[in-house]
């Protein structure tokens, strides 16, 4: 998977546990802060939202763009990260 970042590989490689939302691929400090303000302070809460949207990447990216101001690339990266994490551990 040469197209994925190290952050992505780090996240997808193990159970997320209590990791911060900024551990998600595509989510940096600014986006992370915005999400935390809305109550999504841990990665698993964002995972919860992803699951509520039935793991639909399109819906999730749309939600993420709306909630955090992420652009398409960042939101897509986060969605892919969560999807792969679910494939591995859910």
């Amino acid at each position: 998977m040469s197209t994925t970042s190290q952050k992505h590989r780090d996240f997808v490689g193990e159970p997320m546990g209590d990791k911060s939302v900024m551990a998600l691929s595509g989510i940096g400090e600014i986006l992370g802060k915005k999400l935390e303000q809305q109550g999504f302070d841990k990665a698993f809460v964002v995972l919860g939202q992803f699951l509520l949207l039935k793991k639909d990447s399109d819906m999730f990216t749309e939600w993420l763009k709306d909630a955090s101001g992420a652009n398409s690339r960042q939101a897509g990266s986060c969605a892919q990260c969560l999807r792969e994490w679910c494939d591995a551990f859910l």
Binding site: Q49, L51, L52, L53, K54, D56, M59, E62, W63, D66
Partner: protein, 186 residues
């Protein structure tokens, strides 16, 4: 158009189903997103939604009956005049006779008023009936589009093509026959 925000979660969920938008539970965190999706879908008029107005349906059924008979003789012109009044919404619905039965079936579904011009819709069957009875298609500028929106290739073209292929195969077969006698009956 009533506000989506005032609807219950169940109604939002039903609306999403009507527009064939795949969705999860409508909860606090997902609600905004689904409302936005519904607004987009409504604006595009993607899928025809049945109206909850029962009075409308009564007239609609009458129109169905009348509409079915003329379709055979002059479907394009009439659907053209019909569609003139409801361009975006019924383009697909009114080409097909069968879609009428689909349309009137989900009577009890309350999907909310999608159209701000719903009274206009209500008037439509009566105006359509009167215009039809006079058999005046009117400015059916959308008539050429009418038979083609539902089918990519019109039915008569399909038949023609089929006949052409059959004739071609027959010719091929008969040209083979010049070399050897007909063996088909063995």
């Amino acid at each position: 158009m009533s506000s989506l925000r005032s609807r219950t979660a169940q109604e939002i969920s039903d609306l999403l189903d009507e527009y064939e938008i795949k969705h999860g539970p409508v909860v606090d965190s997902t609600r905004n997103l689904y409302e936005r999706k519904l607004k987009e879908a409504m604006a595009k008029g993607r899928k025809a939604k049945p109206s909850p107005d029962k009075t409308y349906y009564r007239e609609e059924e009458e129109v169905t009956y009348e509409y079915k008979t003329p379709v055979r003789s002059d479907g394009a012109g009439d659907s053209g005049s019909y569609m003139r009044s409801r361009p975006a919404w019924n383009e697909r619905e009114f080409e097909h006779e069968t879609s009428y039965s689909n349309y009137s079936r989900p009577k009890l579904e309350y999907g909310g008023q999608q159209f701000s011009d719903e009274p206009h819709m209500y008037d439509l069957p009566s105006t359509y009936k009167s215009s039809y009875l006079k058999t005046t298609p009117g400015p059916s500028k959308e008539a050429p589009k009418a038979p083609q929106s539902s089918r990519l290739v019109p039915l008569w073209v399909q038949f023609l093509f089929f006949v052409a292929v059959a004739v071609f195969l027959y010719l091929v077969f008969s040209s083979m026959e010049t070399n050897e006698p007909i063996k088909g009956i063995e």
